[in-house]
């Protein structure tokens, strides 16, 4: 059970986002740039928060931006965005966000495998801070790839 490969274009370090919407958009653009999704998927990710609130902030400092599998998804993919300045999503417990993960899957079962691999990496409570402060893309990959050995 491993994560989809993380292309260079899928990792954006120390991005500047004025608000949560911009932060999610950067994660969506990284999925588009790495060939995983269309811009429609990014809009769908934003709609999930507009419709349901900031529940995608699933842990202190981390937002898991995603929408449903569908025609907007070309291949399974993951993007990782670290923010130069933390952003408020309006979550009662887990704000501010320093890391946004963008997640796209062509089918629900593949999606769940990627989610399980993410859990392997981030169940280690130090991993979010480590990703937030990662100096290089290689450092980000090294933290996420711990999921393969858990």
């Amino acid at each position: 059970m491993s994560l989809p490969p993380l292309a260079d274009r899928a990792i954006v370090l120390r991005a500047r986002a004025a608000d949560w919407r911009e932060a999610v958009r950067i994660a969506g653009d990284a999925l588009v740039d790495s060939g995983c999704t269309t811009h429609e998927y990014t809009e769908a990710m934003l709609r999930m928060v507009d419709d349901h609130g900031p529940y995608i902030v699933i842990a202190p400092g981390l937002a898991l931006a995603h929408a449903r599998p569908g025609a907007d998804v070309r291949t399974d993919g993951l993007s990782v965005v670290t923010l130069a300045q933390p952003v408020e999503f309006g979550h009662a417990h887990n704000d501010p966000v320093r890391v946004v993960i963008g997640l796209a899957g062509v089918a629900p079962d593949v999606h769940l495998a990627a989610v399980a691999a993410l859990a392997n990496a981030f169940n280690d409570s130090a991993a979010i801070t480590a990703v937030a402060e990662a100096p290089t893309r290689e450092a980000v990959r090294a933290i996420l790839e711990r999921s393969d050995h858990a």
Binding site: H52, Y55, L64, R68, N94, L112, V115, A119, S125
Partner: protein
Amino acid sequence: MKIVAICGAGIGSSGILKVNAERVLQRLGLSATVVAADIGSVARVAADAQVILTSAEFVDAIGATRADVVVIENHFDTDELSRKLEAAIG
């Protein structure tokens, strides 16, 4: 026993809850079916569930249910999940 994890799309944060709930149940020596579903299908999927795991944002939308609704703050914190699941089941 059936546990349903609920989120907006039924695959992201509820997927994390499903995966981690299965790990916690194994650790506790309990057996249960854990299903991830979206909020739109909660009435159907959770009709025979004992526990619903979710985020605070969905509690109102879940509405009246016979299941115990358990709100998880940190989806990656298996200790929180274990403590709250044990309280709901035990």
